[in-house]
Symmetry: C2
Subunit: 286 residues, 2 copies
């Protein structure tokens, strides 16, 4: 596995890659890699084939953290991340420092104004501009044919798809189903920050989503009633504070009044358990 902390070597590597050998498939991450990331990397490997290339980036992007958020506390277990990438057959690991990515007088951003407004964007006002900007930068540096994103951060996935569509980026976006613990908790680098009692309660977030999904499948089509039940289930988790729980169109993220047969709706939730904010989502269909 080749590793690079600087852009120059990545560019030189990229200029030598023969397109004919197979696609370059990219998995952008913030590190603290877990089985969810490993699943994304394996998906990238299958798509690239033996002759294509899998590129992983590890970059805890400061511009997507708010001033009161957990940038400093975000876990950075680099040696373990490196081992996981090697084990999964990654071809190139790019792990720039913030100074390699951002100039002191940097003044250009990529901004999304529709899908970013609600949900996580409501409490994290510049988060998705930071995400769009860094993903655009990484795409420009790595020039992948495809990039793999997890479905756990559904809003991020929808925003990235919108950016690629609107800016005509030549990158195919692949999504991968959320990987869960046996008890249903969605894998997240932030799970390791949970206290042991919060960890025991955390699977109830997924249970609330499942109950909502089952109610819809049983015939309930009123989004107001489904959402009411979802919020009450989440609020019933001891010590939980519900940041949001919405049932939206899965592409536009616009709120719905009724579930419509054949269309794709999704419940998206964010819940704070103690100091740790967890997100999850599930498809809701009739």
């Amino acid at each position: 596995m080749k590793t690079a902390a600087r852009i120059g070597p990545v560019t030189r590597w990229r200029n030598k890659v023969e397109v004919i050998n197979g696609p370059i498939v990219f998995v952008p991450t913030m590190g603290a890699l877990h089985e969810g990331h490993a699943a994304l990397i394996r998906r990238a490997r299958r798509m690239a084939g033996i002759k294509g290339s899998v590129v992983v980036s590890i970059f805890v992007n400061p511009t997507q953290f708010g001033p009161k958020e957990d940038l400093a506390k975000y876990p950075r277990p680099f040696a373990q991340d490196l081992a996981l990438c090697k084990r999964e057959g990654v071809d190139l690991l790019f792990y720039p420092a913030p100074e390699e990515m951002y100039e002191g007088d940097s003044s250009v951003k990529v901004c999304e104004s529709s899908l970013s407004a609600g949900l996580c964007g409501a409490s994290r006002p510049h988060h998705f501009d930071g995400v769009c900007t860094v993903v655009a930068m990484l795409f420009n540096i790595i020039r992948p044919d495809a990039a793999v994103f997890g479905e756990k951060d559904w809003q991020q996935l929808a925003v990235i798809r919108r950016m690629v569509r609107d800016l005509k980026m030549p990158v195919k976006i692949i999504s991968h189903a959320t990987v869960r613990e046996e008890d249903g908790l969605a894998l997240s680098s932030r799970n390791r920050l949970l206290t042991s009692s919060a960890r025991l309660l955390a699977p109830r977030i997924y249970q609330a989503l499942l109950a909502c999904s089952m109610e819809a499948e049983a015939g309930e089509s009123s989004v107001a009633r489904l959402r009411c039940r979802l919020i009450s289930d989440l609020a019933g988790i001891p010590g939980a504070s519900v940041d949001y729980a919405e049932i939206v169109d899965e592409s536009t993220l616009l709120p719905l009044k009724q579930l419509i047969s054949g269309s794709t709706s999704r419940a998206l939730v964010a819940v704070k358990l103690g100091a740790v904010r967890l997100i999850d989502n599930l498809v809701i269909s009739r």
Copy 2:
């Protein structure tokens, strides 16, 4: 010469181009091509060589025009533009309609917040976001190795260079000196909108810039005094209204107090002659 109004054929063309044959050099335009554009295309041709490719786009980008600006009046002499491109040996001419570039619910923009604030940006508040967004889109569609921009719109050139730097775009930006009429007037598609009396007065914009440059070369280093003379020369043109006249650092576009030997300063001006707004600029050095 291949022509394409849709993105699909451009993508297919681009995927077949062998990098080994020579660079792809891109000249983005709004059409109404004149000798200034022809000079940019010839520069692109020299850089691409016989085996490389020259791509020209013609797109009057609606998002860079304000609601009260001349979008509808902007000249669109397509047959003449096509002939010029053929004559200059362009390999691919891309001329999308607005609907091909922008979705109805488009929500992603590229925004520059520092160099765009003053000069033309002061009276055209969203102009450079529109420019950055469309240039990013065109770069993503055409994936050129280099792109050629005229120096006449110096602020645009500086903003594009900043965008390429900050978003790590894999495109080399080449600038080409302003092409002028024999009487000094900078070539512009908007010159044809001048009345015949305004056309006779228009070269005095360049004369004022030249006088400023000569005064600096003769030893004047106070930007306030140089600028005062420049504004008074421009304001002395009958019927002219000076939108701005600034002497700035040519990369950051920040205002200067003194000319410093060895550093690069530039005078940038915008003047309205009747209904037509003309811009020009000139290097100012000691």
